[in-house]
């Protein structure tokens, strides 16, 4: 395996414009497979979710899963595609043991959805429109494990073991048109595009959208052309780039590699590349050749899918608000600054904040208060526990109660933090924890006045200063009272009482 020369990204950008293209495969989360009633479940024991259809036994008849078609139409609609009035399945013929049928049932010249677009937002808020060529229905392949030789690598393997649980799982393949004009932001756009698709299918509820499980997989096409040239360069296709970060890195690497090839004066080879996370580089797979002669032909065992306009509109009516529109609406409603809102989104607490505000609507919990709790208290704890903030175990209702305890002056912020620890430790609702831990603020003036007397007596010089008009010296007395009450006094009230006692205007 030879190591490719690469140019620096900046040099590559000085001379060339990248053109991108993506094929994103989305595994649907239907209960059963695309053409058989075997379960669609991840992680089960090998070959336990297969039946005769999945194994391509002679004489079996595939039947289309209606829910998978509906999910596919929803994806098409969410990507602003046209939905075909009628479309067919086709056989994509190839010989490889990941399919026991020697063909993949897919769609060829008649995809269910076509001619769409997706507005992709980059991190600084720039919106880049990506045109969608098509989204078509197909089935996933089985999983091969290569053994012997260098374990896990296909090179040098002695044999492979095949698990067909995944064979036949419904897939939607989303294909973009060539993406031009991204320039040096191409790697960032690549990541943002895949993230946007993932977010959309997750929001639609049609896929688990977990990239680490292969629910969303990306093939990235990259080519370069000199500035000013109309004609596209020769592209490479980097297969199965399966994390958002890897998509960004792979596109960047391929741009650098192509640039080096072009600079050396030889044409780029049209080929498949494999992404290696460990070295953050790609290596050559096979060249495009007659092995790509898939001999597509219409699938004779399946009849056309006719999507009546009524059906399409019924499905359109079920679509949730698009994620980008929802973000825009919430940001305006909450009155957060760009930075505040971006932090909230990046921290993954937008949904939690929305739920908290809804739960606290009756008691007037503000958007700023909700943000303060989640960003200030919970995100840090979640990070420390290495879980998503929403999974930490704090309910919006608990936040509302906690906030109300502070608003009502029952506890102060410092105590609230301790109460939150109690909530996380499973000690009960905030009010119970306040009681159990004896955290309530001393609201009765009696004990406070006693503590104030003691503090003034302990620091007569400070008391004199305050009497003399140096009100800012009051901190020392307040501090003494807080210490005496073990932090359970309302500092504001203590201040008022001290001033009253000394007959000084605050």
């Amino acid at each position: 395996m030879s190591v490719d020369t690469i140019l620096s990204f900046e040099e590559a950008m000085e001379k060339y414009d990248p053109v991108l293209g993506f094929e994103v495969h989305v595994e649907l989360n239907t209960r059963t497979k695309m053409f058989s009633s075997a379960p669609n479940v991840f992680g089960d024991d090998p070959n336990t979710n297969v039946n005769e259809v999945d194994l391509g036994m002679p004489g079996v008849l595939p039947v289309v899963n209606k829910a998978a078609v509906e999910s596919s139409i929803k994806i098409g609609l969410a990507l602003n595609c046209k939905i075909a009035e009628s479309c067919r399945f086709a056989r994509k013929n190839y010989f490889y043991p990941d399919t026991p049928k020697n063909f993949q049932t897919s769609q060829y010249d008649e995809p269910i959805a076509y001619d769409g677009w997706l507005d992709v937002e980059l991190e600084d808020g720039t919106v880049f429109r990506v045109e969608i060529e098509r989204a078509h229905m197909e089935e996933d392949a089985g999983k091969l494990t290569h053994l012997g030789g260098q374990a896990g690598r296909i090179q040098g393997a002695d044999y492979s073991l095949v698990d067909y649980n995944r064979a036949g799982v419904p897939l939607v393949e989303i294909v973009t048109k060539p993406i031009e004009g991204a320039g040096s932001r191409a790697p960032e756009l690549a990541k943002a595009y895949v993230a946007a698709v993932r977010e959309i299918v997750k929001n639609l509820g049609v896929s688990e959208a977990r990239m680490e499980r292969g629910n969303v997989r990306c093939d990235a096409n990259v080519s370069l052309r000199p500035h000013g040239q109309e004609r596209f360069g020769i592209r490479s296709e980097t297969k199965n780039v399966n994390s958002l970060r890897a998509v960004e890195h792979a596109v960047r690497y391929e741009i650098q590699r192509h640039a080096a090839v072009l600079e050396s004066g030889v044409p780029v080879t049209q080929e498949t590349r494999h992404w290696h996370e460990d070295t953050r580089s790609t290596t050559a797979g096979r060249e495009k050749s007659d092995a790509d002669d898939y001999r597509y032909f219409p699938e004779p065992d399946l009849v056309p899918v006719v999507a009546s306009r009524e059906w399409v509109e019924e499905l359109r009516a079920t679509l949730p608000e698009p994620p980008a529109e929802r973000r825009k609406r919430l940001k305006e409603a909450w009155g957060y600054s760009d930075l505040e809102f971006r932090d909230v989104v990046n921290a993954g607490v937008m949904d939690s904040i929305e739920e908290t505000i809804a739960a606290g609507a009756a008691v007037g919990l503000t958007a700023d208060a909700a943000r303060k709790w989640w960003m200030g208290e919970i995100v840090g704890r979640a990070k420390a526990a290495d879980v998503d903030p929403a999974d930490l175990g704090v309910t919006p209702q608990a936040i509302v109660e906690l906030n109300q305890l502070v608003v009502d002056g029952k506890i102060n912020n410092k105590m609230a933090s301790q109460v939150l620890d109690g909530v996380l430790a499973g000690e009960g609702a905030p009010a119970e924890i306040v009681e159990k831990r004896g955290l309530a603020m001393v609201s009765d003036d009696g004990p406070l006045l006693e503590a104030i007397d003691a503090a003034l007596a302990a620091q007569p010089d400070v008391a004199d200063k305050i009497r003399g008009g140096k009100v800012q010296a009051i901190g020392a007395i307040v501090g003494g009272v807080m210490k005496a009450t073990r932090g359970q006094a309302d500092a504001g009230r203590v201040r008022e009482l001290i001033l009253e006692k000394l007959g000084v205007q605050g």
Partner: protein, 98 residues
């Protein structure tokens, strides 16, 4: 429809990883040509008013509800396999594709 010649058969055999002798290629090319010619006669019969179809019966939207049905046990699934290991099909290493 183009006729099937010997080169087409050799190409398909290579794609399918089937080793065929020169005699077999000759014979298969001849046999496939006969089949293609027979099918071709259908298109001669079908007039302009008969649209091309991939299915003999004019059906659409034959769907199945998304309800889990029967599965095979791993032993059943593997019963016809030439070789297996750890409840999985065991196949020779194939080098040219990941």
């Amino acid at each position: 429809m183009a006729a099937i010649n010997r080169d087409d058969v050799a190409h398909l055999a290579r794609l399918a990883r089937i080793e065929m002798s020169a005699e077999e290629l000759d014979r298969m090319a001849g046999e496939l040509a006969v089949i293609v010619d027979s099918v071709k006669s259908v298109s001669e019969v079908a007039g302009e008013d008969v649209p091309a179809t991939s299915h003999p019966i004019p059906l659409s939207n034959v769907f199945r509800e998304d309800v889990v049905g029967h599965v095979l046990t791993p032993a059943e699934a593997l019963s016809g396999a030439p070789d297996s290991e750890d409840d999985r099909f065991k196949v020779p290493a194939i080098l040219d594709e990941e």
